[in-house]
C-alpha cells in the first residue's frame, strides 16, 4: 500500500528526461584530442580532456581521470564551465583518499584513443576519442572490464538561467501536475523526453562561473557566493519558461519543489562486457543478483532501481524502490572476473540494468538529479580485491567492541525501570546470555532526546549500573529531529547557534515527527557535527554513563508530513546548499556526529557503538545499521538474507535485521527460526513494535524457549570467530590477516565459490567467513530443507542430531531433515574455527575464558584458521595490545604462530586453548596427542570420526606451540 504513495520514475522530471535518453547516431560526444594532458582538476593531479557533442544543447564537458590508489581510477565529468557550481560529494570517502600524483603514470595518445597506465596497476584506463568512451582494460589480456558511455547515454544537463516568461503562448492556467500513473512509469521509450535545446549555453554567458565557484559550492558553509541566491534574481519566469519537462518546478501530491537552480541532472551508462551478474546498490528488497529493469531492446520492464533514502512504512518485498539507506556501488562479475564501480553522488539516483543484446555482458545506466558524474573503477580482479579496494576508498568498518557482537534485547518500549530490570533478571534466571538492553523513544521526556522520563526511569544511572554489574550495556535512542519547545535545552542551543536546516526563506524548517513539530540539525556542517558531539556528556545528557551507547533512528531523515515522508528538496543546509544534493548522505553525517559524540563522551579510548537506520557509502566507519521496520512473516525472514548480502559486499558489514520482525506478532515457530538465522548474522538484535505482544525469548514455553536460548548460546560460542572476522576488516589493511579473514563476515556463496554457478544466485544461505555455511530454515512447518553444498569440499554438519561434526558425504543440493530443533550450519573442510564454548551471561565475562579450536580437515587432511584477540573494548590495539594468531593443521600437527601484534599484554591475553576438536579425523582410533612434549588426553567419537584433544592448556594468544596427534 505504501509503495503507491512513493514516487516512480514518471513522477520525476529528471528521471523522465534521463531514463531513455541516448546521444547515439552521430551526435555522440567525442574528445577534443589536443586538450588531453596532465593538469590539475580541482587542485588534484589528473589527466584532463575536453569532451564535446555536436548535438545542440549539450554542453562541453571536462573529463578528469585520476588514480586514487589501490589501482582505483576516478573518472569525473561535468560542464567545462557551469553557470552555477555543482555539488561534489564530500565526507563519504575515507580520510586521506587523495589522487596520487600521476607523474609516474604513462599517458600515451594514439590516433583514436589514449591510454593511462602505471606499472603496478592490473588495469589501465583507455579513453576512446570518437565516439567518446572511457574503458577499463585489464593489462594481462586486454580484456575490457568496464566501458563508460558505451551506449552514448552520457547526458549532463547544463545549469542555465531561468528563461523569462514566454510572451506569445497564452499562459496555460493548468500547469498540469506531473503524471504519476504506474503505466507511465513502466516507461515505454515514448515517454522519454530529450531536454529542451533552448536555454542558455553555459560558460559563454557567465564569466564568473568556473573552478572558484566549484570550490565555493563545495564549501558552502564557509562561502556565501552561490547559486541559489543568484538564481533568485531571475525567478520571475513562468513555471516552465523554456518548456523543459519538470525543470523549474515540480509538484508531488501537496508538495511543490521550487527548483530554483533549474535542471542539472547527470547521467551516463556503464557497460561491463564480461559480467553475468550485478550486485550491490542497497538498500532494497529485490533479488541479490539484480534483475534487469530494461530488456535487451531497451524497453523498460520495471521501474529503475531507486536510491533515495526514505522511511518506508511497512515496506513491501520485491520492490525496486530504495529504503532507508543507499550505497551507490556495484560489483559486476562472472566466475572469472570482478569489477566494482562507485557512482559517488548523494542526490536522488536511479540505476537501470540490462543484458546486452549479443550476450556481451551487462549494461547499467545511472542518473542523478544533480551533482557531477563522479565514477570510481575498482578493477578487482577478484571480489575480494574489489572489496578491499572499496574499503580503501570508503574506509574500514569500525572495530566493534566485543559486546556489540553479542545478543541485543530491544523493544519499543521497555516501560520503566522495573520492567527493564525484570527483563535483565529473566535472562539470568534462564541462563540466556545477552549483552545490551535497549530503550526506544518512550524512555525520553516527551521525545526530547538526551532526556529521561523520570516518572518511568527515576534513576537512570542506577539502572545502567545495575545492568552493567554483569558486564552488560545499555543503548538509548537519539533521533535527528528536535522538538520545537522553547524550554528544551537542545532546541534553545540549536536555535541560538542556527544549527537547523532552513526553509528557502532562511528560517528554520519545522516538520512533523515523533515529538510533534520538530527541527532538524544540519549535520552536513562540520561545526554542527562537532556541536552535536559535544552534547554527549553528563551535563547536556543527564545520566550519560560509560555504559551507555546510542541508536540513531529516523535519519533518512524521516519527516511525517514531508513529501514521501522526508524533507523537501529545496530546503537549505547553511545558506545555499539545497537538500536535494545531500539527501542520501544526511543520515551518514548524523551517524558520524554521534560516533564522534560517543568517542569524546567516553573519553576517547572506548570504541563507540552507534546503530543507524540510514547510511551512505562509507557509513561502515561509524558502526552498525539494521534493515529497518520489517514485518513478522516468513517472507520477511527469508528476505533478511537478500537484504543483508548486498550490504555486506558494499562494506556495511555490521548489519542485521530485527529478529522476529518489527511489525506484527510472530508465531513461536517463526520467532524460533528467526533466532536461529539471526544468530549467524552480523548484527543480532530482537526488536518489536509498540503495538506487538511481548516476545522475550522465554514467553512461549517449550520447546520454543529452549530452542531460542540454544540459538543465542550458539551465537556466543562463535563470538571469537565473529570478532576475528570483524578485526580482519577493521584492522586487516595492515596485512596481518590472511586473505580469508578479510571480507564481509557474512558472505554470499559466490564470494567463497566464485566458479560455482549455483552459488551466483543463491540468496538463501551464506558463509560466515570462509568457514561456516549457514542455511536457515525460512519455511513454516518445514521438516526437510535443501542446502546447497559446493562440490570439491568436505562439509561437516555441526548440528547433526546424530553427532557433532559428522561429515556430509553428498554435495550439491542436499536435503536435510530439519525439525524445529535443527539449525543447518556446516563447517567447511580446511578451516579452523576458534570458539569459546563456556556459557556466560555476557561477552564481558568471556574475555579470559579458554578457547576451543575446531579443526575441519579437507581432503588433504589440512586446515587453517586465525584468531584475533584484544581487550574487546578499547583502542589499545592501536598501540600494539592485540594479537593475531594463525593456526595450521598439517601432517597431523597443529601449529600456531603470531602473525600480528603480540607485543603488549591486554585483558584476556593469558587465555588458554583447552580443546582441539578435529572433524574428519576418521577411523584411525583414539591414538594419543602431545603438546610441547606433554602427553594429553584424547577422546574419539567413533560415530562421527571426531577426535577431541583435551586439556591442552596452552596459551591461545602467546607462544609457539605445536600439537601432534598420533
Amino acid at each position: 500500500a505504501e509503495w503507491s504513495k512513493l514516487k516512480v520514475c514518471s513522477d520525476l522530471g529528471f528521471c523522465r528526461r534521463q531514463r531513455h535518453f541516448s546521444l547515439a547516431s552521430g551526435l555522440a560526444y567525442c574528445v577534443v584530442v589536443d586538450t588531453i594532458g596532465r593538469a590539475q582538476w580541482r587542485g588534484m593531479p589528473a589527466i584532463v580532456a575536453t569532451v564535446v557533442s555536436t548535438a545542440p544543447g549539450h554542453p562541453d564537458l571536462t573529463l578528469a581521470v585520476m588514480d586514487v590508489g589501490m589501482h582505483t581510477f576516478r573518472v569525473a565529468l561535468h560542464e567545462v564551465e557551469p553557470l552555477l557550481p555543482r555539488y561534489v560529494v564530500r565526507d563519504a570517502l575515507a580520510d586521506g583518499v587523495q589522487p596520487r600524483s600521476l607523474d609516474d603514470a604513462t599517458l600515451v595518445i594514439h590516433a583514436d584513443y589514449a591510454n593511462i597506465f602505471r606499472s603496478d596497476a592490473p588495469a589501465r584506463v583507455r579513453i576512446m576519442f570518437d565516439p567518446f568512451r572511457v574503458e577499463l582494460v585489464r593489462e594481462d589480456d586486454a580484456q575490457v572490464l568496464a566501458v563508460l558511455n558505451a551506449d552514448d547515454r552520457l547526458q549532463v544537463e547544463p545549469l542555465r538561467e531561468k528563461p523569462p516568461p514566454s510572451p506569445s503562448p497564452s499562459p496555460s492556467p493548468s500547469p498540469s501536475p506531473e503524471p504519476s500513473s504506474k503505466e507511465k512509469a513502466e516507461g515505454s521509450p515514448s515517454d522519454a523526453k530529450a531536454p529542451s535545446v533552448a536555454g542558455a549555453t553555459p560558460g559563454e554567458e557567465n564569466e564568473d562561473a568556473g573552478d572558484d565557484d566549484y570550490d565555493a559550492y563545495e564549501d558552502e558553509h564557509d562561502d556565501e557566493v552561490t547559486g541559489v541566491a543568484r538564481k533568485k534574481e531571475g525567478e520571475s519566469g513562468d513555471e516552465r519558461g523554456d518548456g523543459c519537462d519538470g525543470c523549474w518546478e515540480e509538484r508531488f501530491q501537496s508538495h511543490t519543489d521550487s527548483k530554483l537552480r533549474g535542471p542539472e541532472s547527470v547521467g551516463a551508462d556503464m557497460a561491463f562486457p564480461f559480467a553475468e551478474h550485478i550486485y550491490g546498490i542497497p538498500e532494497r528488497t529485490k533479488r541479490f543478483s539484480l534483475e534487469d529493469t530494461v530488456d535487451a531492446e531497451g524497453n523498460a520492464t520495471s521501474e529503475p532501481f531507486r536510491m533515495y533514502n526514505l522511511d518506508v512504512f511497512e515496506f513491501e518485498l520485491d520492490k525496486p524502490l530504495g529504503l532507508y539507506g543507499a550505497i551507490p556501488f556495484i560489483t559486476a562479475r562472472n566466475k572469472a572476473d570482478t569489477v566494482g564501480m562507485v557512482w559517488l553522488n548523494s542526490a536522488e539516483t536511479f540505476v537501470d540494468i540490462r543484458a546486452k543484446k549479443d550476450s556481451a555482458g551487462k549494461s547499467t545506466h545511472w542518473f542523478s538529479e544533480s551533482g557531477i558524474i563522479d565514477v570510481y573503477f575498482l578493477p578487482g580482479p577478484s571480489a575480494k580485491d574489489v572489496f578491499q579496494q572499496y574499503l580503501r576508498l570508503t574506509g574500514s568498518p569500525a572495530m566493534p567492541q566485543r559486546f556489540a557482537l553479542g545478543y541485543h534485547q530491544c523493544r519499543w518500549n521497555y516501560r520503566d525501570e522495573a520492567d527493564s530490570k525484570a527483563v535483565d533478571a529473566e535472562f539470568d534466571k534462564r541462563d540466556i546470555p545477552y549483552d545490551v538492553l535497549w530503550l526506544d523513544i518512550e524512555h525520553t521526556n516527551g521525545k526530547r532526546y538526551f532526556t529521561w522520563d523520570y516518572s518511568r526511569f527515576p534513576d537512570p544511572t542506577a539502572l545502567q549500573n545495575h545492568i552493567a554489574a554483569r558486564g552488560r550495556k545499555m543503548v538509548t535512542i537519539i533521533d535527528p529531529h528536535v522538538k520545537r519547545d522553547k524550554n528544551y535545552a537542545l532546541h534553545q542551543f540549536a536555535t541560538e547557534q542556527k544549527y537547523y536546516i532552513n526553509k528557502p526563506d532562511g528560517t528554520p524548517f519545522d516538520g512533523w515527527c515523533w515529538p510533534g513539530s520538530s527541527s532538524y540539525f544540519d549535520f552536513t556542517s562540520p561545526t554542527v557535527r562537532q556541536a552535536w558531539a559535544s552534547r554527549f556528556n553528563p551535563k547536556d545528557y543527564p545520566h550519560f554513563t560509560e555504559h551507555l551507547y546510542t541508536w540513531n533512528d529516523m535519519n533518512e531523515p524521516s519527516v511525517f508530513n514531508g513529501p514521501e515522508g522526508t524533507m523537501q528538496k529545496d530546503l537549505l543546509h547553511g545558506d545555499n546548499l539545497e537538500h536535494r544534493h545531500v539527501h542520501n548522505i544526511y543520515g551518514h553525517y548524523f551517524m558520524q556526529a554521534t560516533f564522534e559524540g560517543l568517542l569524546q563522551g567516553h573519553g576517547g579510548n572506548d570504541r563507540p557503538f552507534v546503530l543507524s537506520r540510514s547510511f551512505f557509502a562509507g557509513s561502515q566507519r561509524y558502526g552498525a545499521i539494521w534493515t529497518g521496520d520489517n514485518t513478522a512473516s516468513w517472507e520477511h525472514l527469508a528476505n533478511s538474507v537478500q537484504m543483508l548480502l548486498p550490504l555486506q559486499i558494499t562494506g556495511m558489514v555490521f548489519s542485521g535485521a530485527d529478529v522476529g520482525g518489527f511489525f506484527g506478532n510472530p508465531a513461536p515457530e517463526l520467532l524460533t527460526r528467526w533466532y536461529q538465522a539471526g544468530a549467524f548474522q552480523p548484527f543480532f538484535r530482537g526488536h518489536a513494535h509498540l503495538d506487538t505482544n511481548r516476545r522475550e525469548p522465554w514467553l512461549f514455553g517449550e520447546p520454543f524457549t529452549g530452542l531460542i536460548s540454544q540459538a543465542i548460546r550458539r551465537r556466543y560460542e562463535y563470538i571469537p570467530l565473529w570478532y576475528t572476522l570483524f578485526a580482519g576488516n577493521a584492522l586487516g589493511q595492515s596485512g596481518e590477516f590472511g586473505e580469508s579473514w578479510r571480507g564481509p563476515p557474512m558472505r554470499p556463496m559466490w564470494w567463497e565459490f566464485p566458479e560455482d554457478e549455483e552459488a551466483d544466485t543463491n540468496e538463501r544461505q551464506w558463509m560466515v567467513g570462509n568457514a561456516l555455511l549457514v542455511a536457515p530454515v525460512v519455511k513454516e512447518g518445514a521438516s526437510k530443507h535443501t542446502v546447497y553444498l559446493p562440490d570439491n569440499e568436505l562439509w561437516y554438519d555441526l548440528y547433526d542430531p546424530s553427532g557433532f561434526g559428522k561429515a556430509v558425504v553428498k554435495a550439491g543440493n542436499v536435503e536435510i531433515e530439519c525439525e524445529l530443533d535443527r539449525m543447518v550450519v556446516l563447517q567447511r573442510g580446511g578451516t579452523i574455527v576458534p570458539k569459546q564454548e563456556r556459557r556466560r551471561r555476557s561477552t564481558a565475562a568471556m574475555g579470559r575464558d579458554p578457547y576451543t579450536l575446531v579443526v575441519a580437515l579437507n581432503a588433504r587432511r589440512e586446515a587453517e584458521g586465525e584468531l584475533y584477540m584484544d581487550d574487546g573494548k578499547s583502542y589499545d590495539h592501536k598501540s600494539g595490545a592485540y594479537v593475531v594468531r594463525r593456526f595450521r593443521f598439517a601432517d597431523n600437527t597443529l601449529s600456531v604462530e603470531t602473525v600480528g601484534g603480540g607485543k603488549k599484554p591486554f585483558h584476556g591475553s593469558d587465555a588458554l586453548v583447552e580443546r582441539v576438536v578435529i572433524l574428519g579425523y576418521g577411523g584411525r582410533g583414539a591414538g594419543s596427542a602431545t603438546v610441547e612434549g606433554r602427553t594429553v588426553d584424547v577422546a574419539y567419537a567413533a560415530s562421527t570420526g571426531v577426535l577431541t584433544v583435551q586439556r591442552i592448556q596452552v596459551k591461545a594468544g602467546d607462544g609457539d606451540w605445536a600439537l601432534k596427534v598420533e
Partner: protein
C-alpha cells in the same frame, strides 16, 4: 569440593562415572578425583566440574554456611560478579562473605512476611465464616425469591385474565350500548339485529384467551397473553398469529357457504373479525374431538379462574359506595355470572368448552335481544365507566406485577450467578464479591471489582472498562482472574486484564501493567488468598541452614 552439592561432596571425592562429553555415544567412563574441578569438562552432564564454569549448563552450589545453600548456573562462576553470599562462586579474595548479614536481613524480612500472612489468614478465616453465612442467606433469599416468583407469575396470569375479562366486559357493554343506541329509534330494524349478531361474534372472539389456550396448546400461557395483548392493542384487524390467520382463511369459505346471507351486509371493517370468529368456531369444533388431550390445561384454567374471582374485589376495593357503584357491582357480578370460566368451574366437568362457548353465545344473544327491547339505562352507562376504570386498574396491577417479576428474576440471576462462582476451598473470596478497590498508578486510577469488572480512570472519570469477569485461568495458587471483553482499543483489540492474586493484610492493587497492547496485568493483594502453609514455608527456609533446597 567447590560447587558440589553439599550432601554429595564425599561421594564425589572418590571419583565419578559419567558419559564423556567429548566422545558422544561412548560408554560411560570413570573420572578420577584429580579430574574433578580441573577446569576441563569431561562429563556430558557437567557433573565433574561442579566448581568451575567449564561445563555449560552445569550447577554450582554455594555452601553459604552461615545461611543456606543455593544453586547457580555454572555460567555465573568466576565471571567477576559475586552471586553467592559466601562469595564461593568467585576466586578467593574477590568477594566478602555476607551470609550472616544476609540471613539476618532475610529472616527479618521473612518474619515480617510470615506475620503478614498469618494476620491475613485470620482475616481470611473471618471472611470464610462470613462468606458461609452470606451464602446461606443468599440461598434462603433465592428460595424465597423463587417462591415469590411463582406467586407473582400466578398473580400475573390471573390479573392478566382479569384485565382481559374486564376489557371484554367493557367491549361487550359498548356493543350493547351501541346496539341499544342503534335500536332505540327503531327497535325492530334488521341492521340492528345484524349489529347485535356482529357484537355477539365480537364477544365470542373476545374469548380468545380461552380458545387460544386450546388452539395453541403447544404454547405457554405467556404466549397466549401476548396474543391477546396484540389483539387488544392492534385491534382485531391485526391478528398477530399467521397460523390462525391461515386457518381462518381456510375456514372462511365454509363459513361463507353456511351463512352467506348473514354476512353479506357486514361492514368491511368487520371482515377480519368475522374470519377470526369463524376460524375459532371451527377450532372449537376440532377441539371437541381432542378434548381429552387438554384436560390438564383445562383443570389449570379452571383453578386459575377461581383465583381470578378472588382477585376481583381488588378492583372494587377503592370503589365508591354510591348507587352507581352498586349498579356497577351489579354489572360486575353479572359479568362474573357470564364468565365462561365461571361457568366451567360451576360445571366442574372436563371438555365442555364448546358447550360453554355455546352457552355463552346464547346467553349473549339473549341479553342483547333483551337489551334491544329495553331503553338504555343510565346505571348501565355509569357501570361501563366503572368497568373502564377497573380495566385501567387491572392493567396497572399487571404492569406492577410484571415489574416485580422482572426485579425478582434479575435478583435471582444475580444471586444464582454469585452463588455459582468459584470462591476457593473455603469460599473466603466471596467477601470480595461486590467490593471495589481503586488505586492510582502513574496518571491513571485503576479500579477492580473482583468477579465483576475492572475500570480505568483518568482525572476522576472512567475512560475504559478493561474487562468483565470471565472466570479463572490456570490452577491452584497460580490461577488468575480473567477479565475480558472490555472496551475496544482504538484500532486494536478489546481490552482485557488478568489479575494475579496474592496474600496481603488488606485488599490492595499492587501494580497494573500493560505488557501487550490493551492486554493488562494486575497484581492484587487480599487476605482471602493467604495460606498458613506459605508462612510456614517461608520460615522453614531458615530452620535448617545445612539442608540444601532443591530450588534456587
Amino acid at each position: 569440593l567447590r560447587g558440589a552439592h553439599p550432601l554429595n561432596t564425599t561421594a564425589l571425592e572418590s571419583g565419578i562415572v559419567c558419559a564423556p562429553r567429548d566422545a558422544p555415544g561412548h560408554a560411560p567412563v570413570s573420572i578420577p578425583p584429580a579430574k574433578l574441578n580441573d577446569d576441563y569438562c569431561d562429563c556430558a552432564d557437567g557433573s565433574d566440574e561442579p566448581g568451575t564454569a567449564a561445563c555449560p549448563g552445569a550447577v554450582f552450589w554455594c555452601r553459604n554456611k552461615a545461611f543456606r545453600p543455593v544453586k547457580l548456573p555454572s555460567s555465573w562462576v568466576d565471571d567477576g560478579s559475586c552471586d553467592c553470599c559466601d562469595g564461593s562462586d568467585e576466586p578467593a579474595g574477590t568477594c566478602t562473605d555476607t551470609c550472616s548479614e544476609e540471613r539476618k536481613k532475610q529472616l527479618a524480612m521473612a518474619k515480617k512476611q510470615a506475620d503478614a500472612i498469618i494476620a491475613g489468614v485470620a482475616t481470611r478465616q473471618k471472611y470464610a465464616k462470613e462468606a458461609a453465612s452470606d451464602a446461606k442467606k443468599d440461598e434462603r433469599e433465592i428460595k424465597n425469591l423463587e417462591q415469590e416468583l411463582e406467586r407473582v407469575e400466578i398473580d400475573l396470569k390471573r390479573s392478566g385474565r382479569r384485565a382481559d375479562s374486564l376489557r371484554k366486559r367493557r367491549d361487550y357493554e359498548d356493543d350493547l350500548r351501541r346496539a341499544a343506541e342503534t335500536n332505540s329509534p327503531s327497535p325492530t330494524s334488521n341492521p340492528a339485529t345484524d349489529t347485535g349478531i356482529s357484537s355477539d361474534e365480537d364477544s365470542d372472539d373476545g374469548d380468545d384467551a380461552f380458545i387460544g389456550n386450546h388452539d395453541d396448546h403447544g404454547n405457554d400461557g405467556e404466549r397466549n397473553l401476548e396474543l391477546q395483548t396484540g389483539d387488544k392493542e392492534g385491534g382485531h384487524d391485526d391478528h398477530p398469529d399467521e397460523k390462525v390467520k391461515v386457518k381462518a382463511d381456510a375456514a372462511q369459505s365454509e363459513i361463507e357457504n353456511e351463512s352467506k346471507s348473514d354476512h353479506k351486509s357486514h361492514d368491511d371493517i368487520h371482515d377480519d373479525t368475522d374470519e377470526d370468529s369463524a376460524a375459532e368456531d371451527d377450532d372449537v369444533a376440532n377441539d371437541e374431538d381432542e378434548d381429552e388431550d387438554y384436560s390438564d390445561d383445562d383443570d389449570e384454567s379452571f383453578a386459575d379462574d377461581e383465583d381470578d374471582d378472588d382477585k376481583c374485589p381488588d378492583c372494587e376495593e377503592d370503589g365508591e359506595e354510591d348507587e352507581e357503584k352498586a349498579n356497577a357491582e351489579e354489572w360486575n357480578s353479572d359479568a362474573d355470572d357470564i364468565d365462561v370460566d365461571m361457568v366451567c368451574a360451576e360445571l366442574g366437568a372436563d371438555g365442555l368448552n364448546s358447550i360453554l362457548r355455546k352457552l355463552n353465545y346464547y346467553k349473549i344473544i339473549v341479553l342483547s335481544k333483551l337489551q334491544r327491547l329495553l331503553p338504555i339505562s343510565p346505571p348501565a352507562l355509569i357501570a361501563r365507566e366503572r368497568i373502564s376504570d377497573c380495566v385501567e386498574k387491572a392493567d396497572t396491577a399487571r404492569y406492577k406485577l410484571e415489574d416485580k417479576k422482572r426485579h425478582i428474576q434479575e435478583r435471582l440471576k444475580k444471586l444464582k450467578g454469585k452463588t455459582s462462582l468459584d470462591y476457593g476451598s473455603d469460599g473466603a473470596l466471596r467477601k470480595l464479591h461486590g467490593k471495589c478497590i481503586k488505586k492510582a498508578v502513574t496518571q491513571y486510577e485503576f479500579e477492580i471489582c473482583p468477579f465483576d469488572l475492572v475500570r480505568q480512570y483518568e482525572h476522576g472519570s472512567v475512560i475504559a472498562v478493561l474487562g468483565r469477569f470471565k472466570g479463572w485461568k490456570g490452577d491452584g495458587r497460580n490461577r488468575l482472574m480473567n477479565f475480558a471483553q472490555g472496551d475496544r482499543c482504538w484500532n486494536g483489540p478489546a481490552r482485557s486484564i488478568k489479575v494475579e492474586l496474592s496474600c496481603g493484610d488488606t485488599e490492595e492493587i499492587v501494580s497494573v501493567e500493560e505488557p501487550n497492547r490493551c492486554a493488562y496485568f494486575m497484581k492484587f493483594k487480599t487476605p482471602a488468598f493467604c495460606e498458613k502453609a506459605a508462612a510456614d514455608a517461608i520460615l522453614a527456609d531458615f530452620e535448617e541452614t545445612e539442608r540444601p533446597k532443591e530450588e534456587l
